[in-house]
Each structure stands twice: as structure tokens, then as C-alpha cells.
């Protein structure tokens, strides 16, 4: 008994860490389990009976797959927009000293330090005042706005840690500025840009608060669909989508790491 106690004491931190991990993963397991449920009523909160109905017919619910495709479209466009704009800002901040640099840094930091609901309500108020109808465009504008800062942070960190001598070497070897940028700078910065893009995609795809304040009656994104469903009755298919997203994310991350390791090994 005392040996067990001793072992527990020696591994207390790890045990606490694993409990925290369980806390993080538990809801995903519940979502997975309940994607195989056959609920009694409209809501899928209580276990009733095993069934694969939802998995064989994922788009069997009216409007759900439409909302999913809308979310994907917005996420892709928002990612492209935020990544391009954010990368440019990141290069300016990491590579140049200029007047207004600290004001720019503050401008980048503020959206990340603001609760979403404040940005959501104020942007919504602007659109209302300007009589711009809510819809696809307003959602896209809002998503690019809040993703931008995250891209800047990710890319800037990467560019700052790059060895400037590599680019100087390229120029010493008579590479033109464009060649240097495309063949040396961009590949070196790519992991930071990819991280920023991935984060933008995840943030945009999953955003609810800002979207709720800036979307029109016909533009129901997937999170908006889930929100509506949580009040009227949740189809099991929602869990199927949730689980599929989780698995896709895990597979993609593992594949990405594997590819990265292989590249490192061959380099």
C-alpha cells in the first residue's frame, strides 16, 4: 500500500496532467459514442439504442449539409484573404523599422484582446448603419478581420527566427530580389504561413459569435445550424459531422508531422 502511495506521489504531476487530458478529450468521445445512438425524442442527450443510421445517411437532415458547404466556402475564402494580408503585415513588422510600428503592433494585438461579442456587435452596428445587407459578404469580411491578427502573429514569429544570412547569401550569389524571395524567403517562412492559414481555417469554420451578429437569414453556417438545432432538436448527424471533423484533424496533423519528419530525415 505504501509503495502504491509512493508511486502516486512520485508521479503526481503526470497523473494530474493525464486527468486534464481526459477532461479535454471526454466530450469528443461522447460526441463519437452518441453518433451511434438512436435517440428517443428530438434531442440526442440520452443513450437509447445502437444504430448506424446517421453514419449511412449523413446528409439526411434538411439544410445541414448546405450549411456545412457554406461554412467550408467561407472558411476557405477567409483563410486565403487573412493569410495574404496577414503575411504582408508580418513581413513588414519583422523586417522593417518604420514610423508607426508600435501603433501597427497595437492594431494587430487589439482584436485578439477583445471579446468576440464586442467586435461582433460593433461590426454589426456598422453594417446596419451603412445599410449593407447581412449575408455571405458581411460574414466573410468579419472572418478575415478576426483571423488576420492570428496569421500576423504566427508568420511574424517564424520570420523573426529565420537566419537573415541565408537571404544575404542568395543575393551574394546574384539572385534577384524576386528570386531570393521566391526561392529562399518564402520556403523558409512557409511553416509559419501554413500554421497561420490552418489556424484561420479552424477559427473561421468554427466561429459562431461573430457570425451570429453578421449573417443574414439565408446564410446559415454550420455552427449556426447547430445553435438552431440545440433549441429545436438535434439530429444525430450533427455528431457524425463532429466526429468526422475530429478524425480528419487528427489524421491531417499526424500525416503532416510524418511528412515533416521524413523531409527532415532525407534532408
Amino acid at each position: 500500500m505504501s509503495r502504491i502511495l509512493k508511486w502516486v506521489r512520485a508521479h503526481l504531476v503526470v497523473l494530474a496532467g493525464l486527468l486534464a487530458l481526459a477532461y479535454l478529450v471526454l466530450p469528443n468521445l461522447v460526441v463519437l459514442a452518441f453518433s451511434f445512438n438512436k435517440p428517443v425524442g428530438k434531442f440526442n442527450y440520452e443513450w437509447n439504442e445502437f444504430s448506424t443510421d446517421a453514419w449511412t445517411n449523413p446528409c439526411g437532415v434538411a439544410d445541414m449539409c448546405q450549411s456545412l458547404s457554406l461554412s467550408l466556402q467561407i472558411a476557405v475564402l477567409a483563410t486565403i484573404g487573412a493569410t495574404v494580408l496577414g503575411t504582408m503585415v508580418a513581413f513588414a513588422l519583422a523586417r522593417y523599422r518604420f514610423r508607426g510600428r508600435s501603433a501597427t503592433t497595437a492594431m494587430i494585438f487589439l482584436p485578439m484582446a477583445m471579446p468576440e461579442v464586442v467586435m461582433a456587435a460593433s461590426l454589426g452596428t456598422l453594417f446596419l448603419n451603412m445599410r449593407i445587407p447581412f449575408g455571405f459578404t458581411t460574414i466573410l469580411i468579419a472572418h478575415i478581420m478576426f483571423c488576420l491578427s492570428f496569421v500576423v502573429t504566427a508568420v511574424k514569429a517564424r520570420v523573426m527566427s529565420m537566419d537573415p544570412r541565408l537571404e544575404q547569401a542568395a543575393q551574394d550569389l546574384y539572385a534577384t530580389p524576386v528570386q531570393t524571395f521566391l526561392r529562399v524567403t518564402l520556403p523558409l517562412a512557409a511553416p509559419g504561413i501554413a500554421a497561420g492559414a490552418l489556424l484561420s481555417f479552424a477559427l473561421s469554420f468554427d466561429d459562431f459569435i461573430i457570425t451570429q451578429f453578421n449573417s443574414g437569414p439565408t446564410t446559415v453556417t454550420f455552427p449556426m445550424f447547430v445553435w438552431g438545432a440545440s433549441q429545436r432538436g438535434i439530429p444525430v448527424q450533427v455528431n457524425v459531422i463532429g466526429t468526422a471533423m475530429f478524425l480528419a484533424a487528427v489524421v491531417l496533423t499526424v500525416a503532416g508531422q510524418w511528412l515533416g519528419n521524413r523531409r527532415k530525415a532525407t534532408a
Partner: protein, 309 residues
């Protein structure tokens, strides 16, 4: 996500050899222009608009006019004072819980896990991000359901007696109580705490621990005098990344709480989307923003780290 700048590499700026030529001097501004313009038009200008909206009166049909109607603020504060109290106290409790739960995990990833396990755990921390957080929050309805195993266990361990005593729960329910909301907030923002903590812990040279041990520091003393102080930037970044979004959140209160757990976010949402009382919504979010900015400024001054971007 990383909110701390990496250890500064040897002077990177200025790089371009042609610096000094007037054309080059304009380059940073061209690079900044589209991104910053986007933020000015869709982030900064709306904030100003909101300030003006909060002082307007009128209705959707007749239009709104600026009438310097300051009492909107007073009325909003009176009507929603408990919402503010709940927002900040729930967010504070959730932040403390996130730190208490997240620190051991970040520490485990940084120091205890082998390289392979480190990646696996990091994936498990980040992957939930990719499942809609509304779905994951709804899963807590199942986990905390009345008469379910979790509530049963908490009851058997007399934890619920304790939480009843401090007013976090009432009776033998967890759902529709402050505890459920705090639990949901903690869960939702935990990765935002773990990642900055991990980033700052990972940079610590393990030899520092050995050195402390060689100087007869006990493990806890090593933690208190060496590890924790070095990880402080991560703690500051993590607490901010948790507290700020948590205090503006209305999803957990809506999905896991009852009307008596509603937070300021719920108020803003209701005024904006249902009541269509835009001045009150604007006043509420203006007060929320001012309070948060004030708290963050005081906190950052106390914590003494400014390398957040």
C-alpha cells in the same frame, strides 16, 4: 496562437542592404496597407460607430439619431449589473481552474513525456479545436445530465454538498447551475491556457532543474523558485487568452445554464438580435470592453510582461 515572441535572434533588422533608398523606405507601408486598412475599416471604425450608437435614441422604423442620451449607459448598468458580476466572476473562476488543470498537463508535455508522446498529447490538445465547439459544449449536457454517472459520483463524494454551500449548485443537479457554466467555460478555453504555458515551459533548460537539485532545493522549491517564475510570461498570456473570451462568452451560459446564469454576452445578444435595441447593445458592449481593457492593463502592469505580440 503563440503570443510570446521567440527569444530574439541576433539583430535581424535592418536586413536589406539597399536600405536608405527612398523607394525602400516606402516598402513597409505598401506591405501594411491592405491588412491595416482592413482592420481600421472593419475593426476600429466600428468601435467608434458603436460609441456613437450607444448615445442614440430612436427605433428601427424611424431611424436612430445621436441625442447624447447618456442615461442608456446608466439604465444598461442597472438592468444588467448582475450579468456583469456573473460574467467576471465566472470568467475568473474558469481562468483559475484552467491554470490549475492546464499547468500539470503543460508541465507533463514539456518535461515528463518522451518526444513521441509529446506530439501525441499536443495533437490531442489541439484536435478538439477542429470539432465545432458548440457540439462539444452540447456533449457536456450528456456528461452532466441529472442522475448520470458524473453527478452520481459527485453526490457520493459529497462534492455537491460543498458546491451547494458556496452557491455553485443547488440540490443534486449540476446542469442549469453556475457550476455547469464554469465547467463549460473551463473546458472551452483550456487549450488557450495550455499552449502558451507549454511554449514558455518548453524553453526552460532542464539543466536548471538539475542545478537547483544540486543546490539542495527540494522538487517543490525548484518549482516555486525556478520553473514557475520562468514560465510567468506563459501564465500571463494564458490567463489573458482565457479570461477575456470567457468574460464575453454567452454560449456556455445559454447551453449549460438556466436564465439565472446569464452573462453580459447573453444581454448583448438579446438586445441586438431579439429586442433590436441597438443603443443598449452598444452601451453594454462598450462597458464590457472598457472594464476588460482596464482590468487587463492593471493586470499586465502587475505581472510586468509586455512581450505579448
Amino acid at each position: 496562437m503563440t503570443t510570446t515572441t521567440p527569444a530574439a535572434p541576433p539583430q535581424v533588422i535592418p536586413l536589406t542592404p539597399a536600405e536608405g533608398k527612398p523607394r525602400r523606405k516606402l516598402t513597409p507601408y505598401w506591405l501594411l496597407l491592405p491588412g491595416i486598412a482592413w482592420l481600421v475599416v472593419f475593426f476600429a471604425v466600428p468601435m467608434l460607430y458603436q460609441a456613437s450608437t450607444s448615445l442614440q435614441t430612436g427605433s428601427l422604423e424611424e431611424g436612430f439619431k445621436v441625442t447624447w442620451h447618456f442615461s442608456t449607459y446608466w439604465d444598461a448598468l442597472v438592468e444588467y449589473k448582475w450579468h456583469f458580476v456573473r460574467s467576471f466572476s465566472y470568467a475568473a473562476v474558469a481562468t483559475v481552474l484552467c491554470l490549475a488543470v492546464g499547468y500539470p498537463l503543460a508541465y507533463t508535455i514539456a518535461f515528463k513525456a518522451s518526444k513521441r508522446w509529446r506530439n501525441v498529447i499536443l495533437i490531442l490538445v489541439i484536435a478538439p479545436f477542429f470539432t465545432s465547439f458548440l457540439i462539444r459544449t452540447l456533449a457536456w449536457k450528456t456528461i452532466l445530465s441529472d442522475g448520470g454517472p458524473v453527478v452520481g459520483a459527485l453526490n457520493a463524494l459529497h462534492v455537491l454538498d460543498l458546491t451547494n454551500l458556496v452557491g455553485l449548485t443547488s440540490g443534486d443537479r449540476v446542469l442549469a447551475t453556475p457550476l455547469a457554466v464554469v465547467c463549460g467555460l473551463t473546458y472551452n478555453f483550456l487549450p488557450f491556457m495550455i499552449l502558451p504555458l507549454y511554449t514558455s515551459l518548453e524553453r526552460i533548460d532542464p539543466r536548471l532543474h538539475e542545478a537547483a537539485g544540486d543546490l539542495y532545493a527540494r522538487p517543490f522549491t525548484t518549482f516555486r523558485k525556478v520553473t514557475f517564475p520562468i514560465s510567468l510570461p506563459g501564465v500571463v498570456a494564458g490567463t489573458l487568452l482565457t479570461f477575456i473570451p470567457a468574460s464575453g462568452d454567452y454560449i456556455n451560459a445559454q447551453l449549460l445554464g438556466s436564465p439565472s446564469e446569464q452573462m453580459v454576452g447573453n444581454g448583448i445578444q438579446k438586445q441586438f438580435l431579439n429586442v433590436l435595441d441597438y443603443p443598449t447593445a452598444a452601451a453594454l458592449s462598450f462597458i464590457l470592453m472598457a472594464l476588460i481593457l482596464g482590468m487587463v492593463t492593471v493586470y499586465m502592469r502587475k505581472a510586468g510582461t509586455e512581450e505579448l505580440v
